[in-house]
Amino acid sequence: MTRGQRLSAWLLLAALAAPLALAGEIPRDQRRSGADFMAPETRAMQADDTANPAMLWVLEGDALWREPAGAAGQSCADCHGDTAESMRGVAARHPAFDEASGRPIDLQGRINQCRAERQSAEPFPPEDDRLLALTAYVARQSLGLPADPPDDPRLVPFQENGRHLFERRIGQLNLSCADCHDDHWGGRLGGAPIPQAHPTGYPLYRLEWQTLGSLQRRLRNCMTGVRAETPSFGAPDFVDLELYLMRRAEGLPLEAPGVRP
């Protein structure tokens, strides 16, 4: 990065950090988890580990964490030790800047990166149960911690792209994410409450899916809903959007793995 680029990156960052800098954004004291918009039974299901179906994936993740994999024959635990220590807060600060690719990487991407490069194993395909299980297990170690996106100036251009993707109108219905989630949260779309689109509960168990799903799967649902093309899983645009969503959610407690209707 040149000096000029670095300077403008910092200026952008300063603008983002300023409270109420941009119209339409949800002020910090009004940020609410998607869980707040659910029926009491669904909220209770998320809150109770013995009733939350996503906990089955957390258990599986715990087993996979200890299991040697790939040509290297190493397990995640061999490198990272006790998750409660080493993985605490990791989900709260992802997506993060990845030196190797020079762009942001999300938690699932990081897990697959470790698998490919450190374990010399095949990366998991998108929405693979094992990938979701490991992601849920790692994310669970940040339960209750506030979303804390890194203040890394190298992330700023990607976050700005994420904001652009959030605010531009797309699809045959010509609606933006912001139209629904900044301007009409709390309203009802065909009977369903519109949440604020915070990423803090993912991966989560959606009753409609009858399984655990990633944040990208949720984003694809919204895009398909407005009859728009969807990027493929893992596409850079998705990670940039996730990065912007984490910034929008800054300060909200992590609740993965959540439950949604």
């Binding site: 531009r168 045959q172 010509n174 009802r188």
Partner: protein, 147 residues
């Protein structure tokens, strides 16, 4: 010129099917479209069923109104009850065809318009949300909502 010569003679023969797929030309007068989009008048009963169809017309996603499933409607837009008293048929027609001509910021989609927006999913590209006959059916129904 050549295009006009090719298209014009076929216009009167425009069947229901091609009218549904394409966008028919129309003229905006004031804040309405006075002339119906089709030769045949709209059918209010078909319009009522279509307006209540959340997959096809999507109206109930945003609007409350005199719909059968009261708990399944949205709250993002004005109640359609009484719209036939508040607005003329011509005004209703323009709002359904392309509300963005009146308010570019509105969240209401333009139902009878095709854009070259590359973000539109392939399955929907080059097609309006509603065909001319469908618009006329819905306009006919909305015009009956006098209270």
């Amino acid at each position: 010129m050549l295009a006009a010569m090719l298209i014009l003679p076929t216009l009167p023969a425009f069947g229901q099917e091609s009218a549904r797929r394409g966008v028919v030309p129309y003229e905006v007068e004031g804040d309405g479209i006075v002339r119906p989009l089709t030769g045949a008048p709209g059918d209010p009963n078909r319009g009522a069923a279509l307006a209540a169809d959340r997959q096809k017309s999507l109206c109930v996603l945003c609007h409350p109104g005199p719909f059968p499933d009261q708990h399944l409607h949205g709250t993002l837009a004005p109640d359609l009850a009484g719209v036939g008293k508040r607005l003329t048929e011509a005004q209703i027609r323009l709002r359904v065809v392309d509300n963005k001509r009146l308010n570019p910021e509105t969240i209401m989609p333009a139902f009878h318009r095709v854009t070259d927006d590359p973000t539109v999913a392939a399955a929907w590209r080059g097609r309006p949300i509603l065909g001319a006959g469908e618009v006329e059916d819905i306009v006919a129904w909305l015009s009956t909502l006098k209270e």
